[in-house]
Symmetry: C2
Subunit: 152 residues, 2 copies
């Protein structure tokens, strides 16, 4: 994973923004490593969680979301993310990150949909929503990824 | 606009969930009516707002988001929304709605991308993020729409 310097919200407490960005980075590191335990650790385990993989219907509840990560990590794709345009906003115990996921496969090429998912590849505009738990840790409660249509 | 009975989060104060659902409905009513003033009223006017129209890059800041609505409402499409799977979550002064936007054009047909945007049509999985202002009103601070790939 590589990322350009993110822009913390100047109105937010810097420590919060830094902690949210660390949680966001942990999510992408777990994804790249296909590490189910780390991915599980990045998420809130609750009925309210939701996840919209690019091109998919929205999955609701931690059980359905966990199942999707299990299936994805069993699949053939080894994605790498070049993250650009990262922005973080914090409001109380909720925070959200908007970021462009520029996807590369492990050979450094944009994947051509070879995994059978036409919506994967190129750039995905993501909105990652985090909540702060009673233990002070930020965890994902919603991930929403939308494929950006190619220009031209 | 038609909508199936939404499912308020039982953990949230019911009044909050109802108010958020009303704000969510106002957004779609403004969209269907192509009413720029009502759409402007539905949004927070702040640098932190973001909007990802299906297939678009994420737009950031109220100026860019407002400009997109102006352009969309000048265009030829008259969309109607059949909203399904509406879920609302409230956490303090932040709330989010996940919903499936089933798009119909004014003739009752799914639009065929005739407006030049291949990503518009069919079903869009949306995440709408609201913040409560000092005046107690809920306003959109982020809208994120992802086209759901057709099955089969």
């Amino acid at each position: 994973m590589s990322l350009d310097p993110p822009v913390p919200d100047p109105a937010a407490d810097d420590g919060d923004a830094v902690a949210v960005l660390a949680a966001n980075a942990a999510y992408y590191e777990a994804f790249e490593a296909r590490d189910l335990e780390a991915m599980s650790d990045a998420w809130e385990h609750a009925d309210r969680v939701s996840c919209t993989h690019p091109g998919w219907q929205t999955l609701r509840g931690w059980g359905a979301v966990a199942g999707s990560w299990f299936a994805l990590f069993q699949g053939p794709q080894h994605l790498q993310f070049v993250l650009t345009g990262t922005r973080v906003e914090v409001a109380g115990d909720v925070a959200w990150v908007t970021v462009d996921e520029n996807l590369l496969d492990s050979g450094g090429q944009a994947p051509g949909g070879g995994a059978g998912d036409a919506a994967v590849g190129g750039t995905v505009a993501a909105l990652n929503l985090f909540v702060r738990g009673a233990d002070g840790r930020w965890r994902l409660t919603a991930h929403h990824g939308a494929p950006v249509a190619r220009q031209g």
